[in-house]
Subunit: 261 residues, 3 copies
């Protein structure tokens, strides 16, 4: 794994997650809930999954960060996401948004844009196609996959960061993390990670954990992506297929200590 | 694994899945979502899980096949299933229906029958009890398990295939795949597969992937069942229990190439 | 693993689960559904996951026990839980309630208390904070974690058992199982179990399986907790991290026979 943030910053951020065990409130999709909760536990955070509109105000009040992921969306859930997002914004609780499938349907693009407008997420993390769809609603993505070129995607990410004030993360062979002016990169990981469902969603959840303990959103998001990459390449080295990769990835997250970075 | 379709057909179908990476749209149950998505990724397909009625029209438009599984049903989801099914039918997109728990409650039987009538699924896949419940609504099944004799079940499957025009698949010790006239079989797999949740649902998802690339529904469905059986018996050979079986099964799916058939 | 119930009782209860393969109806959270279903299958029970209000009456009629877990709650699901709980109560079907996150939000506390009042669960299983929140609604818990002292929690458990007539289980380093007068304990397990999501929910599901075959609720609940502890410590002995722990735990459940107790 190679990253442009200092290893000291990354190490300090990981240490802070393990030391503070932040409560991370997730409104995420059905597919990735188990993986996300396990990944958060593995790095020492404390996940809570809750989406009921009626309890969003109180749940947000005890959380260190809010993760909103629109992977398996419907009308009721959108109301829960909006209520939680607005409450978190009012409290100054950091928010990370994963606009899963933006561009695949106009409803997803519109929902993501509405959440961005109303909740002003600290970080937006998606693949290239999704980020491009948020900048140009005419971009079509093929489901939840990324097919955009990294150059066009980075241009879109910078533009989105500038217009929203959010740090924008694009996952891909190289991850880009930008506030529109400064751009960090993370290289590494392994191609087999794209054959395990919910890896992108898991990285969004980890961004949430880092945001809860690190006020510099660029450092927090880059640290989360670096941790994904590091655990991913370590796990891939001895995984026999995508099934064992999913398991070994969690073992690596569990065992990675700041000293090993 | 033994099957009555030619290994050439099976090999060609598997090759087509890996080559075309079809987008498979799943409206499936909460229990099997992660397994189904991982299994689809493992064979090279591209899964999307989405159930929101408002986006069904657009999601269906970009998918190569639609998987409808009624395992964890409620009123809202039924509306999503109907909207997606009708849109897929209109477009000529193949549909596979998994009537999970038909016969366990009258609401499930009725929902499955309604989806069959409105969406005319290309393939219906269930266990013996479920298929029998669709033919004779007085058949009671014990939850989601199969307890029907294979002879009665096959008779029901042929009858259902003839009355609906769907290819009907019964999973069991021997799988039967029939259009009412021609019946293929798949033997193999391993009993431990029944101790891993969502294996039936996963096979339905794989039928979807094969339908997206193979226009002969008998060949597509039989290939999917053969692949399940082959990966299952390979994984069972070295699994220590149902936990490792779930993981090893994914590894086998990931590593199985057309050449190995 | 050490427990205060006799090994004969535990062995007989486990034998009865494997012999009778009871149908356990679960209304549980999205995170733990897959784990719970797999754990139930591993011990020889037959899980069904269903929450749709319209089918609760019929589903309850074929089940040997009902598991209600409020982990990922919303208004629709509460209606399903109430309908199932009331139907099970009327039929004399045992119910186990897991008040996940009681104390974290007032809505969860209120929902759990309402379910207790309307459905009179045979067993209530939670961590110390959750049980204390049900006795004193002013207790705040940090999300879904337990932070209560075991002495205060046991006092609360006995009080809750006496006021409700339910057997109350507190999970922790030592598990307490009490009807208010008699208290059993289970010691063992392994700290890594707290790094795997859904372990508490899984234990609640196993309590359901034991309740379906063992009429003494203290014995049933203690046996389930003892089985969790035993499988947990066996799996932890060779797990490399929380990922492999999740898998190995299922393998151990699958392979544990009454003779090994």
């Amino acid at each position: 794994m190679k990253t442009t943030i200092s290893h000291e910053s990354f190490r300090a951020a990981l240490k802070a997650v393990r030391a503070n065990s932040p409560l991370v409130h997730n409104i995420t999709n059905y597919v990735a809930m188990n993986n996300s909760a396990n990944a958060l536990l593995a790095i020492g955070a404390s996940p809570v999954m809750a989406h009921w509109r009626d309890e969003m105000e109180e749940m947000t009040a005890i959380a260190g960060a809010l993760v909103i992921n629109i992977g398996t969306l419907d009308g009721e859930w959108i109301e829960g996401m909006r209520a939680a997002g607005v409450a978190a914004l009012r409290r100054g609780t950091p928010i990370v948004l994963d606009p899963v499938g933006a561009g695949a349907t106009s409803q997803r693009t519109a929902t993501a844009l509405r959440l961005i407008e109303e909740c002003k997420p600290t970080v937006i993390r998606g693949n290239g196609s999704e980020i491009m769809a948020l900048v140009d609603a005419n971009t079509k993505s093929k489901g939840v996959d990324s097919s955009a070129s990294s150059h066009d995607a980075l241009t879109a990410a910078k533009s989105l960061a500038k217009s929203t004030g959010s740090v924008v993360v694009i996952s891909g062979e190289v991850d880009y993390i930008t506030d529109g002016t400064t751009t960090h990169t993370v290289e590494g990981g392994d191609p087999i990670m794209t054959s395990v469902t919910g890896m992108g969603c898991t990285s969004t959840a980890l961004v949430g954990a880092f945001l809860a303990v690190e006020s510099d959103a660029l450092v927090a998001a880059t640290s989360a992506m670096a941790l994904m990459s590091l655990a991913g390449e370590r796990a891939a080295a001895y995984s026999k297929g995508s099934g064992s990769m999913q398991m070994n990835f969690l073992d690596e997250l569990y065992n990675l200590t700041p000293e090993m970075v």
